[in-house]
């Protein structure tokens, strides 16, 4: 019994006041949620309306909740790192805790913040943008969501039970091998990413089929809004890149719990094989993250410049070029491996080539704004901030792609600054822009612009204050992932400025959350469904969108379909007659996706602890859940035409 407790709660889960405080906070917040749900009798509502839902709009909102929660956790990790580094020889965190924190920061931000955020926007926007009633496989979509949620849960459980992973988000062997890293943290890392990977590939397949097969009549490929194009290529990237990650992680897991020798030292193991597999996934992953953000900017810039997107076809060619090139650059993550000059030159050049299509896109966004009537809303502010930020991040990327320079800059804060420059300046700005842009469509009310602007400025200025000093720290030779440094190296002042910036970004997050709460309290409803004077089909629907999306599927004649409809009807939409409305099928609610996720959680947890009876139980539950889904032939329910007429009538969307 004592041994089991020691395994459940090793010293790293309670040996510092900060950890204990965080544990207490987790328990208190969970208890508060349970009490509130019980007090207001919301359990049934939660189960019936949300957990069992297969409606893409609700799934999108649930992804968004996961993403923002994880942004909080990853952000707290970042602030702890910056606090530790604020002064030389700081003892706020021990080396091991620092290692755990930079590992969970990176892993959470990539897999459980950015990815769910992207899927949130895909789910909310893509079916509406293409005039579809849902995604191709609604239940699979719910399964993806619950695999993501339970994987995120499994990863976060490691903080309280068993101990966090500590080998960096890239988890390079041999450090991740059992002989060097005997704790449970790496097992948690491997199992949670393997499980979320299954859900991610399913999402990729789902959206690729949806976009290829379910567009409204008249929407040819070249009439698809750019966000749909970015979702299309992102899905393809997911399908072709994620298996490499699965293999890299699975082989590490086999080494750890199965005793194989893929990445060990000795027995012919080759740690560099892992690094290759990891980055064959990892570089396309960079574009999986940033292309959706590009898509958001294309929508936002066109909408708030009141102009058609400039150079649409070159935009399409650019994303396709980026997609293809992204599979040919992975070695630039480890030029110092010593593969030889010719190989490094090839990958250096292919990396620099990507700057060309990216540059084309940047010019297209600028030309879209040129002579447009630009409205400085919050999404547009993020778009404007993105352009210079991303250009500088991209330029420092080209510097890193220069092989001899990389030998100096590799593994320093210059690299840290570079990838935060593109990941925050590109991805996070894009996702926040998308959140502000589609918020009224998701919830039916606007986010307050005033507080949104305040959050933006804190976040934007904080970003520069944080990362510009880090470029210089890198040039002065400060390596990444060190938990402290002695005074007198000239790093202290720059680190302190960086820490101040990080807390500004933290304040920006707090203001952003305040903006959401403020907007709930001072609810400004979006009664028209088209608050931004939008151009694409989602704005033709009421906010929030009814379960069935389109009462009658629109016919698309133009790239900016809704803009064209408004223009040709002199702003007087011609609503359908009650007669034209027929009964529709919507996906039935099902508890199966939730239970499948739970089963995977049990399986994963059993493997983490190598308690094989638990793992076997989880596996049987997974199979049972799959069989149940397979045998369930009753997947859709019908909404009768009168209900639809009622809803459309209430929004004033029926022909008199």
């Amino acid at each position: 019994m004592g041994a089991i407790i020691a395994k459940l709660f090793p010293p790293s889960t309670y040996d510092s006041a900060i950890i204990l405080g965080a544990d207490a906070a987790i328990i208190l917040v969970s208890a508060a949620v349970v009490i509130i749900l019980t007090k207001y009798k919301r359990w049934q509502w939660l189960w019936k309306e949300w957990i069992t839902s297969a409606d893409h709009k609700k799934i999108g909102i649930m992804y968004l909740i996961v993403a923002v929660t994880m942004l909080f956790r990853g952000g707290v990790d970042a602030l702890m790192m910056r606090s530790q580094l604020a002064i030389p020889d700081n003892t706020l965190l021990t080396a091991n805790h620092y290692d755990e924190i930079f590992t969970t920061h990176g892993t959470i931000m990539v897999f459980f913040m950015a990815m769910p955020f992207i899927f949130a926007l895909f789910n909310v926007a893509v079916p509406l943008l293409i005039g579809a009633r849902d995604v191709a496989f609604p239940r699979l979509n719910a399964i993806s969501l619950w695999l993501t949620i339970f994987a995120a849960l499994l990863f976060n459980v490691s903080f309280v039970i068993g101990g966090s992973p500590n080998a960096g988000w890239t988890a390079y062997p041999p450090l991740t091998e059992m002989s060097f890293n005997p704790g449970l943290g790496q097992n948690y890392y491997l199992m949670s990413l393997l499980i979320s990977g299954v859900g991610t590939v399913a999402t990729g397949v789902n959206f690729l089929v949806t976009i290829i097969r379910m567009r409204a009549p008249g929407m040819t490929l070249m009439r698809m809004p750019m966000f749909v194009w970015s979702a299309l290529v992102t899905s393809a990237l997911i399908i072709f890149a994620f298996p490499a990650l699965t293999v890299a992680l699975a082989l590490t897991l086999l080494d750890r719990v199965g005793g194989s020798t893929f990445f060990t030292l000795g027995h012919g193991g080759m740690p560099m094989m892992y690094v290759n597999l990891f980055w064959i996934w990892g570089h396309p992953e960079v574009y999986i993250l940033v292309l959706p953000a590009f898509g958001v900017f294309s929508e936002v810039v066109a909408t708030f410049s009141q102009k058609r997107l400039f150079g649409y076809s070159t935009m399409v060619v650019s994303v396709l070029a980026i997609t293809a090139l992204s599979f040919g650059v992975w070695v630039h993550h480890f030029f110092t491996m010593g593969a030889g000059a010719s190989i490094n030159v090839f990958f250096g050049l292919s990396t620099m080539l990507i700057a060309i299509p990216t540059g084309v896109k940047v010019f297209n966004w600028i030309f879209t704004m040129w002579q447009g009537r630009v409205r400085l809303t919050v999404p547009m502010l993020y778009a404007l901030a993105f352009i210079p930020t991303f250009v500088i991040g991209g330029a420092s990327g080209v510097m890193l792609a220069t092989v001899p320079a990389d030998y100096q800059l590799n593994n320093t804060y210059f690299l840290v600054a570079h990838f935060h420059n593109v990941l925050i300046g590109g991805v996070v700005f894009g996702l926040l822009a998308g959140m502000y842009y589609w918020w009224p469509k998701m919830f039916g009310y606007m986010l307050d612009e005033r507080w949104g602007r305040r959050a933006f400025w804190l976040f934007f200025v904080g970003f520069w204050v944080t990362f510009v000093p880090q470029y210089f720290l890198g040039l002065e030779g400060m390596p990444r992932r060190i938990f402290t440094y002695p005074a007198g190296l000239g790093w202290t002042g720059l680190n302190q400025i960086s820490t101040v910036g990080a807390f500004m970004m933290g304040a920006g997050f707090v203001v952003l959350v305040y903006d959401i709460l403020y907007s709930v309290l001072h609810m400004v409803r979006d009664t028209t469904g088209d608050p931004w004077n939008g151009r694409t089909l989602e704005w033709s629907l009421p906010s929030p969108v009814p379960e069935y999306n389109f009462a009658v599927v629109p016919i698309v004649n133009d790239r900016d379909a809704w803009w064209e409809m408004k223009r040709s009807g002199n702003g007087q939409p011609n609503w359908p007659s009650a007669k034209a409305i027929r009964g529709l099928h919507v996906p039935k609610h099902s508890a199966q996706p939730f239970f499948l996720g739970l089963s995977f959680f049990i399986l994963g947890w059993g493997v983490v602890y190598e308690w094989w009876w638990i793992a076997l139980f989880g596996l049987v539950a997974v199979l049972a859940s799959l069989v149940y889904a397979m045998m369930d032939y009753d997947e859709v329910e019908e909404i009768d035409p009168d209900t639809i007429r009622g809803i459309e009538g209430r929004f004033g969307r029926l022909q008199a």
Binding site: F137, V209, G258, H267, V552, P554, K566, G569, P573
Partner: protein, 213 residues
Amino acid sequence: MSLPLEWTAPETVAAPEETPLEFADTEQTHYIFGFWLFLASDIVLFSCLFASFLVYRGENLNMGSLGVVLPINLTTVMTETVLLLTSSFTCSLAVHELRRHRVRGVVTLLAITLALGAAFVTLEVRDFVGLVASGYNWGQNSFLSAFFTLVGTHGGHVTFGILWGIAIIIQLLVHGLGTKTARKVYTFALYWHFLDIVWVFIFTVVYLSTILK
């Protein structure tokens, strides 16, 4: 006044007579397309395992460590190959029966396919057990790790296919032939042929050009 939205519902196009059952319902064809995409993803997975196998083979040859001389004989591997290729043939016959709307034929041929698959898995497991019994386990060197993982992943796929196939036979018996069950038989057949193709590569790369060379 011109209509901003042409509010006509898209007409459902009736499938022509000769359209096979599994393609008759548009919604079901989404699953077929989606399944092709899944297979694409699975090909990348196997490609990574093949690449690892080849890298570790080279590494172990360079090191001069053994592992390439395994007590595996050609007869067993040939038998496995014949079993799996035959099962692919019977699987095609099942789809042929599907096109002729004969549920009993589909069920019988699927059952034969699964039986052949089970025989294949049995032989493979016996091979693995024999290897481990004579001291060749995957902890010995990275070549053996890669060998067991690549071949075992394929075997795991076949095992999963057998379970899936049983579930499909049950559904055929319960629901008969419809657009949905037909689609399931069809995607199962795609999966089964895919495993066959992967085996052809394993046979060539792992057995013919490495172990039995």
